[in-house]
Symmetry: C2
DNA sequence: TTCATATAATTAACCAGTTAGTTAGATTAT
DNA sequence: ATAATCTAACTAACTGGTTAATTATATGAA
């Protein structure tokens, strides 16, 4: 065993990184059949759905391949193993969040405005991708061994910078007397909880209430509530 | 095959349910070796830990048996299958919560006091059992097929009554002008999110901050924050 | 008191189905 | 041709669940 050649190629994203004189013409993709980037994207998308629905252990690689209309071996061509695929999903989810949220936090808005913009941006990102919380929820709690390592990487890469900026906004707002004094270590996870939890619990709520919790109208109401709720809790 | 007798006995808890004229004397347990109730309890406890750590699909029945110092077959003697064991865990968790929280909601306290008592009781229950959120989180999102059925039962049995009482408190408080007007469908899940999320995220926070998020001191601070945060958001 | 019997509690060993991951080859654009 | 892209079929390992036997306890008839 362990003789194999098909070693996984980690860096799939580069397109025409002219390595060694081979490619010269302006054509931008070599030796390709079908649409490889699309295959990869389809796999990732299917993985998001599958991981969201069943969690990491419950997710079936066969199901992902089937949903992506792709042979299972292709998963292992693009991703080292199931774990790496899950990490790719995490990166996808959180890089999207960061892209949406960091510009706001780095803007020159006054604290109060900035906080509201942040909350809105965060909410909108999740509302546009209601599956994302479910992909993550199942994993950021496990402290044991490997799970921890995986999430720690994500945490350091995405959470830390966001948390840092957010703590700074809080400091400024408190100093300016606009915010009530709060510990970021308490405030930040509370906000995340308020925003995320509603979407995690939506399937369940649907069975209890008569209202569809993810209808457009409801989501608008929910957005207004969240902003108001946190405003009332934070602003003086 | 299928000749066997050892069919799973669902109702383990009854002790001296004198069935048919056979037993008459007051003796309460027959043909018993070891401490069966203890075995069952050990299994349940181990299951809580295992399900919390790995989720339902990731949990290993072998690991549960090992942790409970019990042969694996004994799991299936006390519980029909892995799924039934998980349901038993859910019942354990939520019946504990209900026991802790319903008396408060059924008391005669004025709305404001009652809400604060409720929040405190809820928080304390979770703080005393920080694993519980993790046991549940992984499951109440999956709407697909079986997962839904399982959680719907729990939802109807435990959530609905609590939600109902809570909605009533809100109505009264709002009517009395003590509370700001909020939709229970928004307020309730927000509160749950704020309380629960901190504990779910604790393992991760531990790796980011230097502070131990579950230290006694920190938990006291957190409790105060949660009550204050929600008070500020709800009370006029 | 004692011994046969029923029954509850427990276990070692096993099995069948599932699943992550592999392999050897096919297909296609250049 | 050749490297990139893709696939059907396979396998090694794992895991939920079963089985048949075993041990301990209580019961009650002799």
């Amino acid at each position: 065993m362990k003789v194999s050649a098909t070693a996984h190629r980690p860096d799939r994203s580069r397109r025409s990184a002219g390595r060694g004189g081979a490619s010269r013409s302006g054509t931008h993709r070599l030796g390709t059949r079908g649409r490889p980037e699309e295959s990869r994207a389809a796999i990732l998308k299917a993985a998001v759905a599958e991981f969201a629905e069943h969690g990491i252990a419950g997710a079936r690689t066969d199901a992902i391949a089937r949903a992506a209309h792709v042979n299972k071996a292709l998963l292992y061509y693009y991703f080292k193993d199931k774990d790496a695929l899950y990490e790719a999903v995490l990166d996808h989810v959180f890089s999207g969040l960061r892209a949406r949220v960091m510009p706001v936090l780095e803007s020159k808005l006054p604290p109060r405005r900035k906080m509201l913009e942040y909350l809105g941006a965060y909410f909108d990102y999740i509302a546009a991708n209601p599956r994302f919380p479910r992909v993550v929820q199942g994993e950021w709690m496990r402290s044991g061994a490997n799970g921890s390592a995986r999430m720690q990487r994500v945490a350091r890469k995405y959470f830390r910078p966001i948390f840092g900026k957010l703590a700074q906004v809080l400091r400024e707002g408190i100093e300016a007397g606009e915010f009530r004094p709060v510990n970021p270590m308490d405030f930040v996870p509370s906000v995340v909880g308020v925003i995320i939890f509603y979407f995690s619990a939506a399937p369940l709520m649907k069975t209890l209430m008569k209202l569809e919790p993810l209808s457009e109208k409801r989501i608008r109401e929910r957005r207004a509530f969240v902003l108001d709720f946190i405003s009332a809790a934070l602003f003086r």
